[in-house]
């Protein structure tokens, strides 16, 4: 695996708000081995070449969701993208698309945090359940219904892949919709009625034009496009049938 003294050029789109008016590209030459990830390349830069480079990272194993960035214009987790796949070409690294750049490879993610909050991502039980009543029963099949959508690590790659979010950040977007859908599908939850107004709203699912790239780039195979589009159908049938079946109508 160690193949000696190969070097690769990593081009980082840098932005230091206190000195740059706009992002500028900076190149670094990094020695690498075949098992090195792009994240390890960036860590090498930080440790050995330039301590001023800023980026987020933590777990290194694609579960904490910190190190999402554009790598050769594709949203990816830097920890599970390998330098060997780019060699001998230059790897271009940029902050996740469609978010404001705080600095270098760090984005401002306040907008997503607000959206996550807004979808009520927690079990809203029909009636309170005491601990003494034990666990809810949930068959493996019932669990499978929502399990995929519960695997979202909030890495925001899907938002960086969604041009509709880029064009209009009021759109609730793929990740938050996947989690909304996850709770709606959970047989322990009765909060769907409280969440659907968000789906129906002008900021809701109909901003999606089924580009589908969000699901392509998802590192956890959550398929957020599916969550969004299932809810289009749900929202539309509610729109037309709400006068027939009064429950669930949006005020």
């Amino acid at each position: 695996m160690n193949t000696g003294n190969k070097v690769i050029t990593i081009e980082v789109l840098r932005y230091r708000p206190e000195q740059d008016t706009a992002p500028v590209a900076q190149e670094y030459i990094v020695p690498f081995t075949d098992d090195m990830s792009v994240l390890q390349g960036l860590q090498y830069i930080k440790d050995e070449l330039d301590g001023t480079l800023s980026f987020r990272w933590s777990c290194r194993m694609a579960i904490c969701g910190s190190c999402g960035m554009m790598i050769d214009s594709v949203p990816k987790l830097a920890c599970q993208t390998f330098l060997r796949d780019f060699y001998p070409n230059t790897v271009r690294v940029e902050a996740l698309a469609h978010f404001p750049i705080e600095r270098d490879l760090v984005i401002v993610m306040d907008d997503f945090m607000e959206k996550l909050d807004s979808i009520k991502p927690y079990i809203i039980p029909e009636k309170p359940r005491a601990l003494s009543e034990g666990e809810y029963l949930q068959t493996p099949a019932e669990r499978d219904l929502y399990e995929q959508f519960s695997s979202c690590i909030n890495c925001l790659l899907c938002y960086a892949a969604c041009p509709q979010y880029g064009l209009n950040s009021n759109f609730i977007g793929p990740g938050a919709m996947a989690l909304l859908h996850r709770y709606n599908l959970d047989n322990r939850d009765s909060g769907k009625e409280q969440r659907m107004p968000l789906v129906h709203a002008e900021e809701g699912v109909f901003n999606c034009t089924a580009v589908g790239y969000c699901s392509e780039v998802c590192p956890k195979k959550v398929d957020p496009a599916n969550a969004v589009n299932i809810n289009k159908t749900e929202s539309a049938s509610d729109y037309f049938l709400r006068f027939v079946t009064p429950k669930g109508a949006c005020k």
Binding site: L167, P197, H200, A201, E202, F206, T209, Y239, F240
Partner: protein, 117 residues
Amino acid sequence: MKRSNAPIFWALFGAGGMLSALIGAVLVFITGIAAPSGTFLPREMLSYSNVLAFSQHWAGKGFLFIIIALFLWHSVHRIFHTLHDIGIHAGTGAKLICYGSALTGTLAAAYALLRIG
């Protein structure tokens, strides 16, 4: 939060998209290639009397109306979104032009089909 009225347009878009995906190609082939060229179907098929008979039958009339209307609603919806995609956010204006032309086309089709008798 204001409820979106998009379902109306989205439903028409979806219906038109599905219909055109299923049979759009074969219709283009029949009416635009096979019959006019007389290679796969007889040119006779497009004679005045034949087409008139088809259009006067309630089924033919309905079929033509649905095809024209839904194809229009499908395409204007996509065009409206594409305008937004390429940075033309005319908002209400673009919406009126896009969906307005589909509505006009739909009414024109209804008018023509009714006139055929």
